[in-house]
């Protein structure tokens, strides 16, 4: 395996120029002026269930101790909520993985369709909008919370296929949103114009030289056309210089190694690049909502960087007493916890641009999964771990619920962001209303 050092990829190019309408006239790269208080939501997904005994703290309340999988999150103990007892109670067509994934954020039954799983009836896409998009639409509808993108959907090692196992975000029923798992595509989407500008600036001198050289050999009549061309090039240069003055990004764009391949073995590097890009785009206020999807439900990532050769999903089917597999699943889930912790750390290190404290103080990170446990395919006790602040939740606790429908949890998150949903997803499952996480 090729050794790749993350530092190789991430270099601060120090591009100073920011929000500029230099080619197609975007009104502004970052959108609205900064409001007083920013709330941000990031939902991270990892697949195939967890190992409950290595995940859930035994204790309830503020005094809890970490089991091995969650150990990487220890530094954030005071800013954490661990939510045991949340269930995905959506029934209907599709196997548990499909419903686990495509109902995870949509909380309603799947549509009828042609996709056959490991059991149940074939099914189609989700029938409802997902909570991240619901909240994004809410924030985008208000001037003070509107941002350029509203939401960004990141992926890491998501296979190139679209089915209910690979999509959790939905713009509406039957409208899946594909996560972007190529850092270059993210760069292009979020900072494309700026990168173009940088390339353009670097060649304009040569373009001028070239024009001058060629033009010197021409007759007066032909020269006139090239003189006009030269004027256009100078005009472009001035436009670029003007744009430079107009705005600077608060946080420079990280450079991404152009040669990094999107292959399984590069996943750890890609993961960190994506997290850096995610944090960077939040810090530049491109969006207030983001999702970060690792692989897919039933994902078969081979985590050789952890010394695991077998595919993740196959391992997750093995019985608990198969020690080797159990160990490997522990490594895998701990690795995900580490990536989640890295994201929290990056946010904690970044000062809040429009206020006091760090960005983490105003961001809620939620880590979840489509299953409770891999070898039982249960949709009960699905992992939910929150890190962050600014949502009015009383953090620093381990909570235990009794099969509370996950519809109610997402309602709590929406309420905390000012969006007073009466129900979300399947109405019957919203009974009891939003979960109280404030006290």
């Amino acid at each position: 395996m090729k050794h790749l050092d993350r530092r190789q990829f991430l270099r601060d190019l120090g591009i100073s120029a920011g929000a500029l309408p230099f080619l197609t006239g975007l009104p502004s790269l970052t959108g609205a002026p900064a409001p007083q208080k920013r709330q941000r939501l990031v939902i991270m997904f990892s697949p195939n269930g967890t190992l409950p005994n290595e995940f859930w703290p035994d204790q309830e309340g503020a005094e809890f101790s970490f089991k091995s999988i969650l150990k990487p999150l220890e530094p954030f103990k005071k800013q954490m909520l661990i939510l045991h007892g949340i269930a995905n109670k959506v029934t209907g067509d599709g196997d548990s993985h499909m419903r686990g994934m495509s109902c995870l954020l949509t909380c309603d039954e799947l549509l009828k369709g042609n996709i056959m799983g490991g059991g149940g009836n074939p099914a189609g896409w989700a029938s409802n909008i997902s909570i991240d998009q619901e909240i994004k639409n809410f924030l985008q509808s208000r001037k003070e919370t509107k941002t350029r993108f509203g939401s960004l959907e990141f992926g890491v090692a998501v296979p190139e296929r679209a089915d209910p196992w690979t999509r959790m975000s939905y713009a509406g029923g039957n409208q899946p949103i594909a996560p972007i798992d190529d850092p270059h595509q993210i760069l292009k989407k979020v900072y494309g114009k700026m990168k173009d500008k940088e390339s353009l600036v670097s060649i304009l001198d040569d373009v001028r030289e070239d024009l001058k050289r060629v033009s010197s050999k021409l007759s007066a009549r032909d020269k006139a056309l090239l003189d006009q061309h030269m004027t256009l090039v100078r005009g472009l240069e001035q436009d670029l210089a003007e744009a430079d003055k107009q705005g600077k990004l608060l946080h420079p764009v990280p450079a991404v190694d152009p040669s990094i391949e999107l292959v399984n073995d590069n996943t750890p590097q890609i993961s960190r690049i994506q997290i850096d890009l995610l944090v960077n785009s939040l810090s530049n206020d491109m969006a207030r909502v983001a999702t970060l999807q690792y692989m897919r439900s039933v994902g078969m990532a081979q985590m050789r960087w952890l010394g695991v050769e077998e595919g993740h999903h196959s391992l997750s089917h093995d019985p608990d007493d198969k020690k080797d597999s159990y160990e490997k699943l522990m490594k895998i889930n701990t690795w995900f916890a580490g990536e989640f912790a890295y994201m929290a750390k990056r946010l904690a290190e970044t000062p809040e641009p429009a206020g006091e404290g760090s960005m983490l103080d105003n961001t809620l990170l939620v880590w979840t999964n489509e299953l409770g446990k891999g070898n039982t395919h249960t949709l009960d006790n699905i992992p939910y771990v929150m890190v962050g602040g600014g949502f009015g939740f009383k953090m620093g606790r381990s909570l235990k619920f009794d099969k509370a429908a996950h519809n109610r949890l997402w309602m709590s998150v929406a309420h905390a962001m000012g969006h007073d949903l009466k129900t979300f997803g399947k109405k019957e499952l919203c009974e009891g209303g939003a979960l109280n996480l404030a006290a």
Binding site: L23, G113, I115, G124, V207
Partner: protein, 776 residues
């Protein structure tokens, strides 16, 4: 030079000004003295005109005979009797050679080749072909196989043979679905299948679940936006051009209930190319199965993609520059690159960025290397070198290598960034954008290659042509001819010729044709699209036949009709495909009477003899007309409702001023009065018999009696003036310069050879290519 004297305005250049063409006369002439005495006062000593007298220059295309007659009849204005027929003839001979004739004008004001940038078509084609150099395959190193349709693969679970037991192919673990164990392959002309509850082959495959794949390529004849649509109640995915797994144009893999879904997406395609196509379809336990593949071409209507647009061979991905450019300057009658603007510069910049991104995204494939390959750096450098050479159509000097390649690999932090900058810089370089920059320098084989490719393809030389140039084998006329002949057969030449016919026959106007639905309810957009296809197929058949006879374009007594057209035009045929239908030679004569043109040159309810007459005068008969001094709009309500269209136009253009030009326009237009507003044959107009008879005074001053379209085309097909009009249009379209910029006699020489070659269009194209290419 100008003596003042009160004069009434000169009467004959009234509504239209006629000019015709003929041969040169001797240089020195006794007519000079007579001209200076009788004519110079108003026309200037060199025919340049005199302000407040007759200020139009005496320039035109009439023959000496026609000029002499005109002078004798009308000059001098206040006393025509002053000039005897003999004087008039002498004057005509003198002015013809001194300044009046096109030859004299070419001598006095020699046309020069204008510096021009690449046109939009040339830019798009060049970029596509530069990237294509690194992929090759069908469409590049050889033509795409002509087999029509798509290769179909049907995969499913085999039904048990009689007496045998069914095999359950469901795997023990994982997804509970049977595994396919049987494959059927065949070629399908059109994708439109409705299997209902059955499988594609109900004797062989189980109906419950199956997956199909249709592969090949799709031919885009025209440049523009194509809409693709798939209809099915099952799962489907469609890829066009880019067949990377994750880049499906349409992804409808997950179904949603039993109803048929239609999903569509649009894509910008460059004309004259075949684009890879892949369609996947799968059924799983739904009650029924069907699949249809549709498109809408830029000037077409939504239809199932017809077999003639599908090929079974798969092509490689093409780089499509879809950036929107400001339109090229067409003020000279044909698009050319003689003006630039900020919008153009921005479009070039955007296109250069898009191309650079495409290159960097596909760099390892294009440079034939891998991420970790030890010689990757070397390969990338080599790629950059080949790229720049391909764009500039020549090997790089040491200076150029430094400026375009080495300096970037030195300065950029990564080789990818270097390549990106090189691509952008090269595509923004004047050496690429202005291909005739070197026109005045000593030229070499590489210039010849570049000109040949631009003339025939609107693109850069392909690998073979570049190799021929590198071998120094583009020097003699025979060598150039050999390459040109090879290139003529390429689909890029065909695409360029489509552009020519589009311009010569003014098809842009025809694209917008619409008729009053109350009078012509069956003249639908579908019918209009069929008419277009019928005309273009006819032209292709004639041009690319062995004879390639220009006269057949004008004289053919048949139309290509399909079922819909046959019904509408009263000659029933069966089938979707177009078939030759013979007509009475009096009733149909080539392009002139093709209903697509007749309908476009007409009002929504009625025919328009003036539109038809002007089109015939300018584009077919080959005389130029100046714009009318006064624009008069035809208002039907101003006329007695009992009148025929001919009677109305006659009344409208009755005044002497109008008739100067309308004496030409009207008889030509009236000769098509047997065709109504949609190009159907009629014998009555407004319940009165149609009168198509008229007399045409030709460039040579002769009179031709017209009784219908056949008389026009018979006159034009063998007439030098008609030939010259066709040749000039074609020359403009191919080279985008004036013929006289290549020598005063260029047009005459081309016409002479054209006539000698039985009006062979392909030979004419070759001759024009030689003019453009030959080293001077």
């Amino acid at each position: 030079m100008a003596a003042k004297s009160p004069k009434t305005p000169f009467p004959w250049p009234a509504l239209w000004m006629l000019m015709t063409c003929a041969f040169a006369a001797p240089a020195q002439h006794p007519g000079a003295a007579i001209y200076q005495k009788l004519c110079a006062e108003c026309h200037g000593d060199r025919g340049q005109g005199v302000e407040d007298e007759y200020d139009e220059a005496l320039v035109g295309e009439k023959t000496i005979e026609a000029l002499a007659r005109q002078i004798d009849r009308t000059m001098p204005e206040d006393a025509p009797q002053k000039s005897t027929p003999k004087d008039s003839k002498l004057i005509a001979e003198y002015i013809y050679d001194a300044f009046y004739s096109p030859m004299a004008q070419a001598r006095l004001n020699p046309a020069k080749k204008e510096l021009a940038r690449l046109t939009i078509d040339q830019f798009r084609n060049s970029v596509m072909d530069v990237i294509g150099r690194f992929r090759m395959g069908p469409g590049f190193d050889r033509p795409v196989n002509a087999e029509q349709g798509l290769k179909a693969t049907y995969r499913g679970v085999e039904l048990p043979k009689p007496g045998e037991k069914a095999v359950d192919t469901t795997p023990k673990k994982g997804i509970k679905a049977k595994r396919p164990n049987k494959t059927i392959e065949k070629v399908e002309p059109v994708i439109s299948f409705h299997w209902g509850p059955d499988s594609p082959d109900k004797a062989v495959l189980e109906a419950e679940q199956f997956q199909n794949r249709f592969e090949g390529s799709v031919v885009a004849n025209e440049t523009g936006v194509y809409e693709f649509a798939v209809k099915s109640e099952n799962g489907f995915r469609l890829w066009i051009n880019d067949t990377n797994e994750g880049d499906a144009l349409i992804d409808g893999w997950v179904s949603a209930g039993p109803q048929v879904r239609e999903e569509k997406k649009s894509l910008y395609l460059v004309g004259g190319r075949a684009y890879r196509l892949q369609l996947e379809h799968f059924k799983f336990k739904e009650k029924s199965a069907s699949i249809e593949l549709w498109w809408k071409t830029p000037h077409g209507v939504k239809e199932l993609i017809p077999a003639h647009a599908l090929r079974t061979e798969r092509t490689r991905e093409l780089m499509i520059v879809s950036t929107e450019f400001p339109a090229d300057d067409s003020s000279g009658g044909y698009p050319r690159g003689t003006t630039i603007s900020k919008a153009w510069d921005q479009a070039v910049t955007d296109a250069a960025i898009a191309t650079a991104e495409h290159v960097v995204e596909n760099l390892d494939e294009l440079a034939q290397t891998k991420a970790a390959a030890p010689d990757r750096g070397e390969k990338l450098r080599k790629f950059a070198n080949t790229f720049v050479e391909a764009v500039f159509c020549r090997p790089l000097s040491e200076d150029m290598k430094q400026l375009f390649i080495e300096s970037h690999f030195k300065a950029a932090k990564t080789p990818e960034t270097a390549v990106k900058r090189i691509v952008m810089l090269t595509l923004k370089s004047p050496q690429f954008l202005y291909p005739n920059l070197r026109e005045d320098e000593a030229t070499d084989d590489f210039d010849a290659a570049s000109r040949l490719a631009l003339t025939l393809w609107d693109s850069i030389p392909d690998k073979k042509l570049a190799q021929t140039a590198a071998a120094g084998k583009l020097k003699t006329r025979e060598q150039i001819q050999a390459e040109a002949r090879r290139m003529l057969a390429d689909s890029r030449t065909k695409a360029k010729l489509h552009g020519f016919f589009h311009q010569w026959l003014d098809l842009e106007r025809a694209e917008g044709t619409n008729k009053d639905p109350k009078i012509f309810p069956d003249f639908t957009p579908e019918l209009l699209a069929d008419l277009r296809e019928s005309l273009l197929q006819f032209i292709d058949e004639v041009v690319w036949s062995e004879k390639s006879d220009y006269r057949e374009l004008l004289q053919a007594d048949y139309l290509l009709l399909n079922e819909r057209l046959g019904k509408f035009y009263g000659h029933p045929v069966t089938g979707e495909e177009f078939q030759r239908v013979g007509f009475d030679p009096k009733q149909r004569a080539g392009v002139v009477t093709h209903p697509y043109l007749l309908a476009s040159l007409a009002y929504t309810k009625q025919s328009s003899p003036v539109h038809r007459g002007v089109f015939l005068t300018r584009n077919i008969v080959g005389m130029s007309l100046k714009p009318p001094m006064k624009a008069v709009v035809f208002e039907d309500s101003h006329f007695n409702p009992q009148l025929t269209m001919r009677e109305k136009i006659t009344e409208m253009t009755r005044s002497g001023g109008c008739m100067a030009c309308h004496s030409m326009i009207n008889p030509l237009g009236f000769s098509l009065e047997n065709f109504d507003a949609v190009g159907r044959w009629r014998t009555k107009d407004n319940n009165k018999p149609v009168n198509p008879v008229g007399e045409l005074t030709t460039a040579e001053g002769k009179t031709v009696r017209l009784t219908g379209p056949r008389d026009i085309v018979n006159y034009v097909a063998n007439n030098p003036s008609g030939h010259r009009a066709f040749i000039r249009h074609l020359f403009h379209h191919l080279i985008k310069q004036e013929p006289s910029a290549y020598g005063i006699a260029t047009l005459e020489n081309l016409q002479r050879d054209f006539a000698a070659n039985n009006c062979n269009i392909q030979k004419l194209i070759l001759d024009i290519a030689i003019v453009a290419t030959e080293l001077k």
